[in-house]
Amino acid sequence: MDQGTIEALVRLAWLAGAVGFVIGLIRMNSPATARNGNLLSAGGMALAIAATAIFVAQHGASTTAWLIIAVGIAIGGGLGLYAARTVKMTAMPQLVSLFNAVGGGAAALIAIDDYIRLAGEASAIPLRVSVPTVLDIVIGSITFTGSLIASSKLQGLISGKPIVVPGGRLVTIALAAIAAAGSVYLFLGNVSLPVMFVILAAALVFGVTMVLPIGGADMPVVISLLNSFTGTAVAMAGFVIDNPVLIIAGALVGASGAILTNLMADAMNRSVLNIIAGGFGGGEGTVAAVGGAGGSVREVSADDAAIQLAYAQHVIVVPGYGLAVAQAQHQVRELAELLESRGVDVKYAIHPVAGRMPGHMNVLLAEANVPYPQLKEMEEINPEFERADVALVVGANDVTNPAARRPGTPVSGMPILDVDHAKSIVVIKRSMGRGYAGIDNELYTDPKTGMLFADAKEGLASLISAVKAV
C-alpha cells in the first residue's frame, strides 16, 4: 500500500473512533446499556490509538521517538491501571479528578511544545495558530491545577472547607487579567516565549485560587466543570496540531460535560455560577438566620432502636454522606438482610446527591451487593414514607431537613426526602454537628425522632448485634 492509502485508512480509523465515542455516550444514558456503551467507547479509543501508531511508523519515526512513546505508555498505563483497579469505591470522585488533571496537563503540554517550536522558527505567528495555542495552554493549565486541588480536597490532603484568604478574590481577578493581557499581546502577532510562560504560570495559579474557596461538597460539580474544560482544551490541541479526532472528541466532551455539570448543579438546587463564586456554608451569618428550631433532642439506645426495627413492617433506609465517609455500606446491607430475614420490608431512599457525588450512593450500595430494585429514587420513595414504620437515617443531614420546604433558609427549595412523614425515625449520626448548609436539622428535634449517636459503621454494627439479640 502506498503512503496516501495508508494515511486515508488512518483518518478513517480516527473517524470510526469518534463514532464509537458518540454512540458510547448515547448508550451511557441508560443503566441497561451503560457498560456496553463504555466498552464501545474504549474500543473506539483503542482503534484511534492503533491507527496513530501506524501513522507514526509511516512517517518514519526515530528509535528515540518510539522509546518515548513506549516508555510514556508503560508508565502512564501502569499507573492508571493500578490506581483504577485498587481504588476504593468511596475514593472514586478524587480519582476521576486526578485522571482529569493529567488529561488537561497533556493537552496543555502539546500547545506548550508547539509554541516553543514555533517561537524558534517563526518571527510572526498568525492568529489562527496563536488563538488555539494560547487557549489550550490557559484552559489546560487551569484544569490541571484546579483538578489536583479538587482531588486533594476530597482525599482530605487539604481541608474540604472553603479556604478563603483575605483578598484572595482580588488575586484571582489579577491573575485572570495577567493571562488575558498576555494573550492579547500574543494575538497581536508578537512572538515571545517569556510572555507565554507568564500566561502559563498565571493560569496554573488561577486554577488553585479558583478551586480553594469552594467547599468539598460542591467538588462533584467542580470536577464535572473541569472535565468539560479539559474537553475544550483537547479540542484546542486538535486545532494546534491540526488533528480532527482531537477536535471531535474534545468538543464532544466539552459540550456534554457542560450539560452534565448543569444537571448535577440542578440536582443540588444550585447554580454553577453560585458554586464557583464559592464560600457557601461554613461561613458566618448563614447560621443565625434560622434559629427558632430549638426543641429537645431524644436519644435512643441501640437496643431500643433495634426493637423498633425488628418489629416494623416497612423500613426505609436513608443513606447519606456520613455512610460514604465511614464506608459503612456493607454494614447497612447486613442489617437490611437481617431485617428481611425477619419478614421486614426494606427499601433504600436515594437522594440524587447522596454520597460524595451524584449517583455515588448507588455505586456504593451496588458494591455492597444491595439488590438494585431495592434502591428507590427520591420521587419514587417520597410518597412511601407515610407508610414506613421506621425511617433509618444513616449519616444524611441536609437532604432530610424539613426546613427546605419553607422559604428563607439556606436549604430552601432544595429537593428533600420526606423522612419526617414516617411513623418514627431513627437517626445514626456522630453528633449534633451541622451539615454542609451550616444549619440545624429540624428533623432531629422532631418528637418522632430518636438519635443514635455513633459513627455510621459502629452504630450499624451495634444495631446488627442488637437485632440479632431480639
Binding site: 501508531a53 476521576v96 482529569n100
Partner: protein, 120 residues
C-alpha cells in the same frame, strides 16, 4: 480563499458540529448515572494521547522529548485509568441480585479489608 483558511474553516465546522452533538447526546440522564457518565466522558478526552504520540514522533531536541514523554504518560493514564474505573462502576450496576454472593465474595475482596492479590 487560501488552502490554510479552507483547512481552518473545515476544522471549525467539525468543532461546531461536535459541540452540538455533545449537547444532544446528554439527554435526561437519571442522577444514578451522573458519576459514571462523568467518568466516561473523562476517559474520552484521553484522546489527547493521539496528539501526544504525534508530537513525540517529531520531537528532536531534549526539551521537546521530555515534554512529549510527560504528555504521553499523562494521556495514557487518563485513557487507561478512565475506562477501567468507569467499567468497574458500571459492572456493579449490572449485577443481578440472584447471581451474586458466594462466587463473588471470594473474587471481590471487601473494600475495608486490605487489598488482596486479586485486587491488584
Amino acid at each position: 480563499m487560501s488552502a490554510e483558511l479552507a483547512d481552518l474553516l473545515s476544522a471549525l465546522t467539525i468543532f461546531v458540529l461536535a459541540i452540538l452533538c455533545g449537547f444532544a447526546v446528554i439527554s435526561k440522564v437519571p442522577a444514578t448515572l451522573h458519576t459514571p457518565l462523568m467518568s466516561g466522558a473523562n476517559s474520552i478526552h484521553g484522546i489527547v494521547l493521539v496528539g501526544s504520540m504525534l508530537i513525540a514522533a517529531t520531537a528532536t531536541d531534549p526539551l521537546s522529548q521530555v515534554v512529549s514523554l510527560i504528555a504521553v504518560a499523562f494521556a495514557t493514564m487518563n485513557v487507561v485509568g478512565g475506562y477501567v474505573v468507569t467499567d468497574r462502576m458500571l459492572q456493579m450496576f449490572r449485577r443481578k441480585p440472584a447471581a451474586r454472593r458466594p462466587a463473588e465474595a471470594a473474587a471481590d475482596p471487601a473494600p475495608d479489608q486490605p487489598a488482596g492479590p486479586s485486587g491488584a
